[in-house]
């Protein structure tokens, strides 16, 4: 089991770190949205006002086959509408919930549209390649966790052991064991539930054989999807308030969080409402479908027992319910996973450095570049993403790429540069990248204050700006950790790799 743990860890560690890191940030994806989309930093509202919202939708997407509205929640003060634009692209805009005022195009994918999808798809859409790579990483996590436990001799002792004053291999192994054992149940549950969320992607044959290839029938039975064809004859839309009230009554007082109008303006239009996921762990699939013209209930759906179990497991992973202490615990456990991967790499490097140097093997050199680029490199890339967001003016476009795409390009290009830097500046890469992290994190906070006026004194004083304050504080905390790490590394001269490298990524 030892060789399996070592090889799987070294080969897949970089991918695992990227998934763990973006997953950890995704715990606060909506707060990152507030930070990166200053025009959505609004005071929370309770209920949206439908007539102005529908006017806005009609103006924005008169011929769209559907309008999907995500309603405001504790963490999101705006209505987000998804639709197909005239070019046929799936797109979204944010709307002020009470007045229906269309907020300016955010020009960013931010947390919910870049960082979160990166976590599960790596943004590699071709043949779902990204999903499969992340799935492989998920299975590898399970294998690594189990083989890690098996090669342990004293698992109980290790739980209480951390010797930061010892030599680097020992202290990094201690920290690797500590974070691995302490958060073992969390990592195991997250890896397995992450796989189970996408069971229709990972085991498509199970669904297609049971349904003879008819995926739509499966989605109807399992998740309650329903629509009927447009008639091509203009029709009216009954008040959505009344439908929402009816849905709320059916669900015992819980309101919808999602409303979709199918074929708006058509006589056979329907309205789909989905029950809020804010108050229970499971991501329920409860739905009510209305006839748009009359407001009559056409169909209701609730999960059957097994699908309910699947939605509960998915809910454990997504943590969409309202629970701030738990959200922070998820964040910290996610970070501990990042530390586990980084220290695993450092242990591998430090136990082989002398031998590889003596035998002239290139392994340490290669893996060290991989480690630096995938650990501190992705942190730098993420911070660059934030900084770019505050620097690019609205309506920027460059060589055919719009503003949102440019931010993403900045992320990937800088990430590549960190790998190049890690191999080129052998021995000094950790230190220099720590300096870069500290500088970029502080720069992000300064730019936020300068471009939006929401500096910490102001954001801490207003409840609706707390997401911004939280992000600024974490950036400053991360900068401080990176700074201390860099200074300590400098004092040690060219000795590489601190044991707490991954800690600095407190985002």
């Amino acid at each position: 089991m030892g060789w399996l743990h070592t090889w799987a860890g070294v080969v897949l560690g970089a991918l695992l770190f990227a998934v763990f890191w973006t997953g950890t940030l995704s715990v606060f994806d909506k707060e990152i949205d507030r930070w990166m989309m200053p025009e959505t930093r609004l005071a929370a509202t309770d209920r949206p006002s439908w007539p102005p919202l529908l006017d806005t939708a009609r103006e924005l997407a008169p011929d769209a086959p559907f309008w999907s509205f995500f309603l405001p929640s504790e963490r999101v003060p705006v209505v987000r509408i998804f639709y197909r634009n005239s070019a046929g692209d799936f797109t979204f805009r944010d709307i002020e919930p009470r007045t229906g005022v269309l907020l300016p195009d955010a020009g960013t994918l931010a947390g919910t549209r870049f960082i979160f999808p990166f976590h599960y798809s790596l943004h590699l859409r071709w043949n779902d390649l990204g999903y499969w790579l992340v799935g492989l990483a998920g299975m590898a996590t399970l294998v690594l966790l189990l083989s890690g436990v098996v090669i342990h001799r004293k698992i109980f002792m290790d739980f209480f052991t951390f010797r930061p004053d010892r030599k680097l291999p020992r202290s990094s192994l201690d920290l690797h064991n500590l974070t691995g054992v302490l958060a073992l149940p969390f990592h195991f549950v997250m890896a397995l539930s992450g796989l189970i969320i996408f069971f229709t992607i990972y085991f498509p044959t199970v669904v297609s054989i049971a349904y003879d290839g008819d995926r739509a029938a499966f989605n109807r039975d399992a998740f309650g999807s329903f629509q009927r064809d447009a008639a091509g004859v203009p029709g009216s839309l009954a008040p959505l308030d009344r439908m929402a009230a009816e849905a709320t009554r059916i669900w015992g007082g819980e309101p919808p969080y999602f409303v979709r109008v199918w074929h708006p303006g058509d006589v056979s239009a329907t309205v789909e409402m989905r029950r809020t996921v804010a108050r229970s762990v499971d991501l329920n699939v409860d739905a009510v479908h209305f006839d748009a013209a009359t407001g009559e209930v056409l169909r209701t759906h609730a999960a059957a027992p097994v699908v309910h179990v699947q939605r509960f497991i998915a809910g454990l992973h997504f943590i969409q319910f309202e629970h701030w202490p738990l959200r922070w615990i998820y964040f910290l456990l996610g970070l501990s996973g990042c530390v586990m991967i980084a220290t695993g790499y450092i242990y591998w490097l430090e136990t082989r450095r002398k031998r590889h140097a003596a035998q002239g093997l290139p392994g340490v050199r290669i893996v060290e570049g991989l480690t630096v680029g995938s650990v501190s490199g992705i942190v730098i890339a993420t911070l660059t993403f934030f900084v770019t967001n505050r620097l690019l003016p609205f309506d920027t476009s460059f060589v055919g790429q719009d503003r949102a795409a440019l931010e993403v390009w900045a992320f990937y290009l800088v990430w590549l540069v960190t790998f190049a830097h890690a191999w080129a500046r052998h021995g000094r890469a950790w230190r220099e990248q720590c300096w870069a992290i500290a500088g970029l994190a502080v720069l992000a906070v300064v730019l936020n204050a300068a471009t939006t006026g929401d500096h910490l004194v102001r954001s801490l004083a207003h409840r609706h700006l707390w997401p911004v304050a939280g992000m600024d504080l974490l950036l400053l905390f991360g900068a401080a950790v990176a700074l201390l790490t860099a200074l300590r590394l400098a004092r040690r001269g060219s000795a590489p790799g601190p044991s707490q490298d991954a800690l600095k990524e407190a985002e």
Binding site: M139, T200, V309
Partner: protein
């Protein structure tokens, strides 16, 4: 080693997916097919996990070939044949 790795990752997946497909088809006689598919697809990950571990622990590569390759082929073959054998319509 490469052979073992391929066997573990591809063969293990083949058998796990085949077993889950066969079982979900069989179970859809007694429950809605959406339930049967979901019920079998979730433990399929655990089965795959167990097969992965076994593939790395088993010394005899030939046995791996037999169990994973033949077992997976039998499971998928059975899933294809089952509707014809029982004469029941699918789904």
């Amino acid at each position: 080693m490469v052979q073992r790795l391929l066997l573990a990752i591809a063969g293990g997946y083949f058998l796990a997916a085949g077993f889950a497909a066969l079982m979900s088809l069989a179970l859809s006689r007694v429950m809605p097919p959406s339930e049967a598919a979901t019920l079998m697809a979730m433990p399929a990950f655990v089965i795959y996990f167990a097969l992965l571990l076994w593939s790395f622990a088993e010394r005899c590569l030939t046995r791996l070939w037999w169990v994973l390759g033949l077992g997976g082929a039998l499971a998928f073959g059975g899933a294809e044949m089952l509707p014809a054998l029982t004469g029941a319509p699918r789904g």
